[in-house]
Amino acid sequence: MNPPDAVVPAPNHSSSPAPGLWRWITTTNHKDIGTLYILFAFTMFLIGGIFALFVRWQLFSPDVQIMDANLYNQAITMHGLVMIFGFLMPVGVGFANWNIPLMIGAADMALPRLNNLSFWVLVIAFIVLLSSLVLSQPGPNAGWTFYAPLSASYGPPSIDYMIFAIHLMGLSSIMGAINIIVTILNMRCPNMRLRDMPMFCWAWLVTSFLLLAAMPILAGTVTMLLFDRHFGTTFFNAAGGGDPLLFQHLFWFFGHPEVYILILPAFGVISQVIPIFARKPLFGYYTMVAALIGIGLLSFFVWAHHMFAAGIATGSQLYFMFITLLVAVPTGVKIFNWLATLYKGSISFEPPMLFAIAFLLQFTIGGLTGVMLALAPVNFQYHDSYFVVGHFHYVIVSGAVFAVFAGIYLWLPKWTGHMYSYRLANWHFWLSVISVNMTFFPMHFLGLAGMPRRIVDYSLQFTNFNMVSSIGALIFGVSQLLFIYIALRSFNHGKPASNHVWQGSKGLEWILSSPPPYHSFHTPPVFTHHEHTSHHHEEKLS
């Protein structure tokens, strides 16, 4: 069994939460707020998914015309905004809220009331954004990247709703990031040095710094956009001395760290899952930390690889190509270390591990197409084609989203106290893996064959692959309903889960009961650190 790393404090009162709906509005409890974030995120996942299904329906074949171009542009814009800002980022913060205090032996987050505010500000943000579709048609239709001058000179009034919503989302993320940094730096239990922290916490520490530095840049950019739209400035207008390219530079200066904000927490989850189901400590703790920090730092220096075709100078293109290739190196280190963790491990394939292994394969594919895109000369062919769409969906969907599934399947028994059905989870896994590849792999070929992105219709020769992709998307969408069922059912049904849940689990969160008490670690646990060496002490059977 697990050698006791810490002692569970004698249970004092487990004071119960306030009754009724008011509890959820005023809670400052990290478990409640984590639950709120995750439920919100999956609601947004379904909404974003519906937008996606409309897009794929329209693109099923050239003669399908279920919406006009303007409505289609709104669908792709909202799909991107909702999935990135409404699903991936909140679900990550939900995981962080639930897990970080448990993993570091803290009673709660450092700033519990700020935590509550961060969540509800996000809800308001999405009420504003989604209501713009109804209250102010046409809704935001300039893509999730809403370049100027399209958004500035030609954007409908709903762009202002979008700008306001982005300000609120940014505020929520920044406050959440501050909370996480302060919690991790200040609230670790005695004896837990930074280098004793689980990798999940390290991933969130680096991600939070990225959020802190990048989100305000987006806030500045959309403020400039708002001013250009309404207050007579010409930041992005060449006629007034500004430059449309400024928008792209500013947006991607935020935008590139943003995509690492999406993937680093996923890396953190995978680093928790694989050691548990390989029954082996994570290989290369310090190089994993160094890789996280390296990726985080480098992410600020590569932004213009989104702009190779925008007319930037040749010298710039060369620089950004080399530096982008460089950031693939620490990413490769992480993949290697996960594989090395599996090597000579005693592996079992419960649902979390299934998704983690799928992540390794699929994220690597997405990473490789990313390296292809980084090559500036060939980027001119890939740019704004479906090749790019294929690339980022591989890293985001079969990368980050699969890691989310792995994390849910890993921690759901801990959070709810019930085991879910492995049989159903396996169905969800295989349907998801097969359909995700069906949806996004053909996009690489479509892009190479010349299909542009962000178009409402396409030339006849692209039909067959688009059909395959749309059918895959439908299957993927329906499979996620199965996932929702599995997850919701485990709230109240299923075999009771033990404290440690999984045979290979290590760490403070697994010594608490499942579910843990409403207030846990009121008294800090006793934590003894051990060195991260590759030759670990032999596990003694107790």
Partner: protein, 189 residues
């Protein structure tokens, strides 16, 4: 230190960082200009040659030992209301000698239109050595329906042009800015 105080201190520091990064977004604008000047990026669409380390007297001396081929290129999209053609698509000239060429433009639409031409020079290093003393590209051009104009360029190539450059292309992209009147005049590029 009490944990609360430590938390408050760190929170304030981090919140200040967020506020500063907001300011950084605005500060990036002049910062980019400084950096691009220092690294000599984006010189290809500079309309006026910038200062070069060369004796201004010598700039007028004709270098008889070199011939540079200068190609004049034109781009505009399908909706563009004018037809534009270069009188001399390629000129072979000696650095230092004063030259003159023209673009012929015809407005084949029914409305008066205002046009702006944005230059681009290849290779980028040649940009500062191609000195235009007078160019239609310095200002907007306006043409009435069905009228035409000769758009002049008076220029010379600074003899200090690096030796390895033998061919230069001067390309103009034409934009219809009729519906787009700025409240303040555009800054020179």
């Amino acid at each position: 230190m009490k944990k609360n105080y430590r938390n408050h201190k760190l929170t304030t520091l981090l919140a200040a960082t967020a506020v500063i990064m907001f300011g950084v977004a605005f500060a990036l604008v002049p910062f980019f200009n400084l950096l691009c000047d220092a690294l000599d990026l984006n010189s290809i669409n500079q309309s006026r040659a910038r200062d070069v380390d060369v004796n201004p007297q010598l700039a007028h001396n004709i270098d008889h030992n070199r011939i540079i081929s200068l190609r004049f290129d034109i781009s505009y999209n399908d909706d563009f209301p004018w037809h534009v053609v270069a009188t001399d698509p390629i000129m072979h000239i000696k650095p230092g000698s004063r030259q003159h060429t023209e673009y012929l433009a015809v407005n084949h639409s029914k409305i008066t239109t205002t046009i702006r031409a944005i230059p681009s020079i290849w290779p980028p290093e040649a940009a500062k050595y191609l000195i235009k003393t007078e160019c239609f590209c310095f200002e907007q051009q306006i043409l009435d329906p069905y009228s035409s104009a000769q758009l002049p360029i008076y220029y010379y190539i600074n003899p200090a042009l690096p030796d390895h450059i033998e061919h230069i292309t001067l390309s103009y992209t034409f934009f219809d800015i009729s519906n787009f009147q700025p409240s303040t005049p555009a800054a020179p590029l």
